[in-house]
């Protein structure tokens, strides 16, 4: 069991991978680890919004439990 982080669109392009797993910790700490692994993410993450198990996550100090999925969503550009 671990936390799955899924990257979409520009975030996936910056990370170079679709998803990565981390040990449970705060969303902020998980994202910091991801940015350390994939430096280009550093430019994209400040523009992103997040979903924790498909629900909007605004407070990044929340601890993400093992088995949960954290989605990284760049600014929408539909239409």
């Amino acid at each position: 069991m671990a936390v799955t982080v899924r990257f979409f669109a520009a975030a996936r392009a910056a990370a170079g991978v679709n998803e990565v797993t981390f040990d449970s910790s705060s969303a902020m700490h998980i994202l910091d680890q991801a940015a350390a692994l994939h430096p280009k993410l550093g430019q994209v993450l400040p523009q992103c919004s997040y979903l924790l198990d498909e629900v909007s996550l605004r407070d990044l100090s929340v601890v993400v439990s093992d088995g949960s999925t954290l989605d990284v969503l760049p600014p929408f550009a539909g239409g």
């Binding site: 979409f8 669109a9 430019q43 523009q47 979903l51 760049p74 929408f76 550009a77 539909g78 239409g79």
Partner: protein
């Protein structure tokens, strides 16, 4: 009584006439449609090809937005479709259709529907330019 006649996130071709037919009825005096089509240029640069990526939640959120608009405006029926995957130049990426007894409500609701889809639906546009560069739109 407002209702949603359809909300589709799909890789298939989408057409104005199909969505207009979905919302049309003998009680509706006005049908307004919007088609957001793929352009061959953006900010003065030639676009070679374009694709959209949709988050797995996009379908459910599109239904939610359609229901929200159907409830907020004095309209009879709402339908909306967003295509993803590769889309050829000139083809539609987003189509919205609204029927109402009167035209003002149909225009207002269709405008709001398109605005809300752009704001709320997790879909992303990737453009490849003739000069060899590419970009994820809205992501500096």
């Amino acid at each position: 009584m407002s209702n949603v006649s359809g909300a589709f996130v799909t890789t298939d071709l989408i057409s104005v006439s199909d969505l207009a037919a979905l919302v049309r009825s003998n009680t509706a005096g006005a049908v307004v449609t919007f088609s957001g089509d793929v352009r061959d240029n953006d900010h003065g640069r030639e676009v070679l090809s374009l694709s959209y990526e949709a988050h797995p939640s996009a379908q459910a959120l599109l239904e939610k937005v359609a229901n929200q608009i159907a409830g907020e405006y004095d309209v009879l029926s709402v339908a909306v479709a967003h295509r993803h995957g590769d889309i050829a130049i000139g083809e539609a990426a987003l189509i919205a259709a609204v029927s109402a007894k009167h035209r003002k409500a149909a225009f207002d609701a269709c405008t709001a529907l398109v605005d809300e889809v752009k704001a709320q639906i997790p879909i992303w546009k990737h453009q490849v330019f003739a000069d060899g560069t590419d970009e994820w739109v809205n992501c500096a």
